[in-house]
Amino acid sequence: MTDLRLHFSKTFAARYISHLDLMRTMTRAIRQSGLKAWYTEGFNSHLYLTFALPLSLGFESLCETCDIRLLEEESCDPAEVIPRINAGLPFGIEVFNCGEARFKPGEIAYARYICELADAEFSCGKIQDAACALLAKSEIPAQKKTKKGGMRTLDLKPLIHSYKVYVEGENCYIDLTVSAASDNALNPNLVLDQIFEPLGRMPDHILVKRTQILTRDMKNFE
């Protein structure tokens, strides 16, 4: 058996496909490809799939991964595998590379998100100012839902590795690299909530795109 990591993007309308639906969709795409992949044993046997870092509903991504196991006889040649799987994927989900898994999901430390923001009322400058003001603080306390349904206060600042705020064309962009370690991952939505709290509401247009998943040494998760 060979472990194979598929690298794919999830953009346009496909960003509204939830994680569970993505698993279903990927399973069917691999089944229709005819590639002989490994199924888990046991009563509830299903196609083995692992996604490194689930993506929030509504986010786009250029750097998703999905690990599968191919049976011996299958070729792992990307030129062969990629088109066969893509033939079974919906518009907006596309495998662009595949190969050996260099890192384990446990080695993921950071993820980089680019948040595109615009509003009919708030100017880009205003959004930019709000973002810079918040991100420059030495502490960013935020309320976070706990698993038990309660709320707790969390300081976001240590979870933000680096950031850049800039205006381009009609939009304001926040380029955020944040912690993505399994026990300490930060959802950029939490940061956006804090940025816009002083403005009273969220802007009309928000598009968050994940562009990189990184290891502790800032290597791309491959």
């Binding site: 496909a14 569970l20 639906d21 069917r28 795409a29 229709q32 196609l47 509504g58 518009f91």
Partner: protein
């Protein structure tokens, strides 16, 4: 908008297998609308077949649209966004044809809802030259009269050929530059097409129909369409594969059409006659292709009664041969209990051991004879024994309450039958150790439907249903038995619509105008809203639902020829109520329902 709704995946389209064409390069654009949410519509095989059939025409582009759920509706109204088809994102009003499938009466208000949201005038007579032609098909159009105000033309019967003929006709009409009125008038010449505006209905003082008169040479009766050869009928090799979970999230292949049984309450058993089975080879090939192209993990062999397929066992052998190795699980939704042989159990339990579902429909032998269920207690118990011995411990039983001639004894008989099944389980030496049995009773309310022998019968009133449901609850003594039922108020409105006439169009419009959508959902249905609308329009729902009809009365659907003779229905009704005799299976003995005259061929060799 999508960020604010619960299931955005319903509204985005983009599925693999969805058909995209250049809208400027096609001659006809057809919006196929399913008047319910995406997950329900996308579970429907007929829609997928017709989608593929129409898109197989290079100059026709058929797209899909579904009813947006309440949360999405709110967003759309707020942003002033019209209802659009999933493929092109164009609003319904931009299409040449907006077509609906009417699978259940309670979706009628959603047809208005979708038209309204799509920018199409609701009333047929208010539509102008620029507006789409609104068409509707599906089982409910065997009595389309309640929807006559809203639909320009109805498509009666099976659509595989008729829908394509209609598309070709409309392209010609466009090329000829015909106006709307001429187009509709000429369309009435296509077999299966019913244009309600071409008929005048007059009424008697007592509210019944006095006469129906066709205008301008429109046909009378209007004949329904039938596909003659099921093996040659088009079947899609590729279908849009939903990304979100749908109600029936699987590949489905129809194995046969029609039914050899003739249960007297069952509309499908009459309006889909004659019985036509696909060859095992065809089914196997279609199933295999569909599973391969979609990657679905589950395959369902669909029909009204799959175990009546003449080659059921070889068929299962063939299919199981590749489904097992391909990790596809097989489901057979409609099995009759009397067909439940050891071999069949052995075959299906190779795949999965979930619960089993049977439909005895009535609790006593007397009533089962009245409805022509042709199944006796011994057979039911034998089927259950086979199932238990095969390792099953969960049995679900479907019944119908309020059937003609039903007495309290019949109601109590439902509980008694369930009790016998529980007792049977505990009497078996081979029962699985340490496992308890569970029998669940699911009770529907009987609804008299057009083109069935019971079309003449009255429906029980809500009070009567409530009383009987209480009686049933009290008759159940074991905790191994659970009971659930359908809401009698929905069934009451459904009964009124099912046998309704054109005058109900005003009621439906009023319900919609007062906020009624998604009436097939608890979240949408309101009995009070319907009653208020009936009152306002001076119509009485009981006139349609709770009144027994004489054989001489002209019913709204009598002008449609579905192939089954009214005389046959009368004969069957008499047998049911007077003699309580059953009618044998078609494959054993022809009862002369009239379909032979209609098709010009014998049903069985």
């Amino acid at each position: 908008m999508l960020r604010a709704v619960q299931k955005p995946g319903r509204y985005v389209g983009g599925e693999r297998g969805a058909v995209h064409k250049d809208k400027n390069a096609v001659k006809l654009r057809f919006a196929f609308c399913f008047p319910d949410v995406y997950e329900v519509g996308m579970s429907h095989l007929g829609m997928k077949i017709l989608y593929a059939v129409q898109n197989a025409e290079p100059d026709v582009w058929c797209e899909r649209a579904f009813a947006p759920w309440f949360d999405m509706r709110e967003q759309m109204l707020q942003y002033n966004a019209p209802l659009c088809a999933l493929e092109s994102g164009d609003p319904l009003r931009a299409f040449d044809v907006v077509g609906f499938t009417l699978q259940y009466e309670m979706s009628y208000t959603n047809l208005l809802y979708m038209l309204d949201l799509g920018g199409v005038p609701l009333l047929s007579k208010e539509r102008g030259e620029e507006d789409p032609i609104v068409v509707a098909g599906g089982p409910c159009v065997c009595n389309p009269e309640p929807m006559a105000d809203f639909v320009d033309l109805f498509l009666l019967g099976e659509g595989e050929q008729m829908n394509v003929e209609l598309c070709r006709f409309l392209i010609r009409a466009k090329e000829q530059g015909w106006d709307r009125a001429k187009t509709l008038r000429e369309a009435a010449g296509i077999e299966g097409v019913y244009v309600p505006a071409l008929y005048t209905v007059k009424y008697n003082k007592d509210g019944t129909i006095a006469s129906v008169t066709p205008k301008r040479g429109a046909p009378m009766p209007v004949r329904r369409r039938i596909v003659a050869d099921m093996d040659a009928a088009p079947f899609p090799q590729q279908i849009p594969v939903p990304m979100i979970e749908t109600v029936h999230d699987r590949a489905s292949v129809e194995v046969l059409r029609g039914c050899v049984r003739g249960c007297r309450f069952c509309q499908a058993g009459f309006i889909y006659r004659p019985f036509r089975a696909k060859r095992a080879e065809t089914i196997d090939r279609q199933a295999r292709e569909l599973c391969r192209s979609t990657g679905f993990e589950e395959l369902s062999l669909l029909s009204l009664s799959t175990s009546d397929h003449p080659e059921i066992e070889p068929l299962l052998d063939r299919v199981l041969d590749w489904t097992e190795s391909g990790k596809v699980s097989l489901s057979l939704p409609s099995l009759r209990i009397d067909s439940f042989s050891d071999e069949l159990v052995e075959k299906i339990s190779r795949v999965r051991k979930s619960g089993l579902t049977f439909a005895p429909e009535a609790g006593t032998q007397r009533l089962r004879d009245v409805i022509n269920k042709n199944i006796d207690e011994e057979e039911i118990l034998r089927g259950c024994r086979t199932a238990f011995e095969g390792g099953y411990t969960v049995v679900k039983l479907y019944f119908m309450m309020g059937l003609p001639t039903e007495t309290d004894e019949d109601v109590a008989g439902i509980a008694a039958l369930a009790q016998k099944i529980v007792d049977l389980y505990y009497s078996l030496p081979t029962k699985p150790k340490g496992k308890s049995v569970s029998v669940s009773i699911s009770c529907a309310c009987f609804i008299p439907k057009p083109f069935t022998p019971f079309q003449f019968a009255a429906q029980d009133t809500k009070e009567e249903f409530d009383r009987k449901q209480k009686l049933l609850r009290e008759s159940v003594k074991s905790r191994k038995i659970s009971v659930s039922w359908h809401d009698a108020s929905t069934s009451f409105i459904e009964a009124a619509l099912a046998r309704g006439d054109r005058r109900l169009g005003k009621v439906i419009l009023e319900v919609y105008r007062s906020g009624g959508i998604f009436d097939s959902w608890d979240e949408g249905f309101s009995l009070n809203r319907w009653l208020a609308a009936f009152r306002k329009c001076r119509r009485d729902p009981a006139f349609y639902a709770n009144r027994a009809r004489s054989f001489e009365e002209i019913n709204p659907w009598d002008m449609f020829d579905y192939g089954v003779d009214k005389q046959f229905l009368i004969r069957e009704y008499r047998r049911a109520t007077e003699e309580q005799l059953t009618t044998p299976k078609c494959s054993e003995h022809c009862s002369g329902c009239g379909i032979v005259k209609f098709t010009g061929r014998k049903c069985f060799d």
